[in-house]
C-alpha cells in the first residue's frame, strides 16, 4: 500500500469515528419512581426536600391526590400534590387523574427538570369484573441536547393478575407507536418472578435491581420498577433502592441511565 492510500485510509477512519460519535449521542438521566401513599406518612414539604436532595431529572409519582379530603391523611386535605412538589422542587409537574375521590382526584404524576413538550393521560384496560380504574401518564420531555424522551408514570392493578397482564399488554402496544426512547417507571404491583413481569417486560431494558421496595415497615417484595424501551438504546450506570427513606410505605427507587437518543 503506498503512502497516499494509507493517508486516505487514515482520513476515512477519522471521519467514520467523528460521524459515529456525533450520531450516537448519549444522555445520562437520573430517574426516580416513588409511590407516595397519598401523603399519609409524611408532609409534602418533607417529600419535596427529599426529592431535592436526590437531584433527579425525572420523577414518576404514584398515589397522588388532587384536592381530596381523606380521613387517613388530614394534613394533606385540599392539596394538589403535584403542584406542591413542583413548587418545592423547582421542577415542572404534570398530573394524571385516575379516579374521582373524596372531593378531588386520585392518580399519578410526573416531575421533570426539563420542559414537557406534550402529555397524555391514558386509561388502562379495566375489564369486568371491574376494579379501580388505572392510568398511565405519558409525557414527552425535551432534554438540553434537544432530543426528546418519553417518560411514563403508571400504577397497575393490585389484586388481579389477569387485569395486570391486560394492562401490560396494552402498554406494550401503546409504546410501539412512540418514536422516541421510552422510560417507564412506576408501581407495577407485580414481583419480578411474576408472569406479567417476566413476559410483559422481556423486551424492555430493566434499569433496577431486585432489592425489595415494599413495604418500608416490613420489606418483603419488589413491585416498583424503572424500564427503558427499546432495550438497545439504554445502559445502566447505577441503581438504588433507598431503604433508609420511610416517607411512604414504598421505598423510592433511583436509576441513573444512559439513553442513546440520536
Amino acid at each position: 500500500m503506498n503512502k497516499m492510500n494509507l493517508r486516505s485510509l487514515f482520513l476515512s477512519l477519522v471521519l467514520i469515528t467523528i460521524s459515529a460519535v456525533s450520531f450516537a449521542q448519549t444522555t445520562e438521566l437520573n430517574v426516580m419512581t416513588f409511590n407516595l401513599r397519598f401523603g399519609e406518612l409524611a408532609s409534602l414539604e418533607d417529600m419535596a426536600a427529599y426529592i431535592n436532595e436526590q437531584q433527579p431529572d425525572l420523577v414518576a409519582l404514584q398515589e397522588c391526590d388532587w384536592k381530596t379530603n381523606r380521613e387517613r391523611a388530614p394534613k394533606q386535605s385540599g392539596k394538589a400534590f403535584v403542584n406542591e412538589l413542583a413548587y418545592h422542587t423547582g421542577m415542572f409537574g404534570i398530573y394524571g387523574k385516575a379516579i374521582d375521590y373524596r372531593g378531588g382526584y386520585y392518580g399519578v404524576g410526573i416531575l421533570s427538570k426539563y420542559p414537557v413538550v406534550r402529555s397524555e393521560r391514558v386509561f388502562l384496560p379495566n375489564p369486568r369484573p371491574k376494579k379501580e380504574q388505572r392510568v398511565m401518564l405519558i409525557t414527552e420531555i425535551e432534554l438540553p441536547d434537544k432530543s426528546i424522551v418519553s417518560f411514563i408514570s403508571t400504577h397497575l392493578e393490585v389484586s388481579s393478575e389477569t387485569i395486570r397482564q391486560k394492562q401490560i399488554k396494552f402498554i406494550n402496544k401503546k409504546i410501539k407507536k412512540i418514536k422516541t426512547p421510552v422510560i417507564l417507571a412506576g408501581d407495577l404491583n407485580a414481583v419480578p418472578e411474576s408472569k406479567e413481569i417476566m413476559t410483559g417486560f422481556s423486551r424492555w431494558f430493566n434499569a433496577t435491581d431486585t432489592v425489595f421496595t415494599y413495604s418500608t415497615m416490613k420489606p418483603a417484595i419488589k413491585i416498583d420498577y424503572i424500564y427503558g424501551y427499546p432495550n438497545k438504546l439504554f445502559g445502566l450506570i447505577k441503581t438504588e433502592v433507598d431503604t433508609n427513606c420511610v416517607l411512604s410505605d414504598h421505598f423510592p427507587v433511583f436509576s441513573v441511565i444512559r439513553v442513546n437518543n440520536k
Binding site: 388532587w66 406542591e84 423547582g90 421542577m91
Partner: protein, 266 residues
Amino acid sequence: MNRQKLKTILLISFCIAGFSFSCKDPVTVDEGYEAPNPPAEVNQRNLITVEFYSRLNEETLFQNNESELVVNRISSITSPLAYLFDRSDAVMGQTSPVVEIGWQTQTKSFFVQNTLSDSYVQGTGMIVRPIVNVFEGASIPDTLFIGGCTLMAPLGNPVTVTLMTCKLDHKMQFPALVNILGDGLNTNKLVIGTVKQHISEDMKHFLKHHLKYFRLSFHETGLEGRTHQLFILTPINFIGREVLSATVGTLPMYQCKIEYLKTLIY
C-alpha cells in the same frame, strides 16, 4: 375563399386564442384563502375569554414579583378559560413563575418553551382550572415550539377546544406552523401567540396561501417599545372578536374574546 385567405384567418384565430389564453393567466393566480364574513352580531353566550399577559417585546414578563397581583386576579376572577404568560421564562432547578402561580392558585400549570439551553428556557406559561388530560405539543428544535391544553369550553353548549400558544420570530417558522396545525384548524385548535411586528404581514400572506378554513387577526396595542404583535389564529367556526388592553399592577394584559360560531360556513 382561397387557401391563402383560409391560412391567414386560421393564423389570426390561433394568435387571438393564444393571446386571450395568456391574458387569462392572472385569473389562475392563487389569491389565497379568504374566510367568509362572520355574523355581525356577537353571541355573548358563545364567548371564550383568555387573558394573555405580555410585554410584547424581548423582556421577561415577571421582573419584580408582579405575580402576586396576578395570583389575586386568578383567584377572584374565574371566568377566563385560561391565562397565558408570554416570556415567563424558567431557570432549570428553580421554581418557574407559572409553577408558582399554579401552586398559589391551586390551578394546573403548563409551560410551552420557545427556546432551550442547558439552564434557561424562554417560554410561555399557561394556567387552566380544569384537570387537563391532554397537553398537545410539538417541538421542532431550533425552529418552532407550539403547545396547549385540550379543554372543555363552558359555552352555551360545551365545546372542546385545544388552546395553544407559540412565539414567531422568523419567517422560517411559518411552514412548520402550518405543518404542525395540519388539518388542526378543522379540529378546534385556537392559537393565541405573538409574532415579530416586521414579519406579521409575511405571516398573513403565508397562511393565506398555505392554510384553509382559518381566521387570523392581529391586534394593535399601542404599547410603547413593543417588538411583537399579538395574533389570534382560529378555525373558521371561531373568531377573535375583541382584544381589550389592560394592566394588572404593572403587567400589560390583553383580554382576548373568541366567539364560537356554531354554523360552519365553508
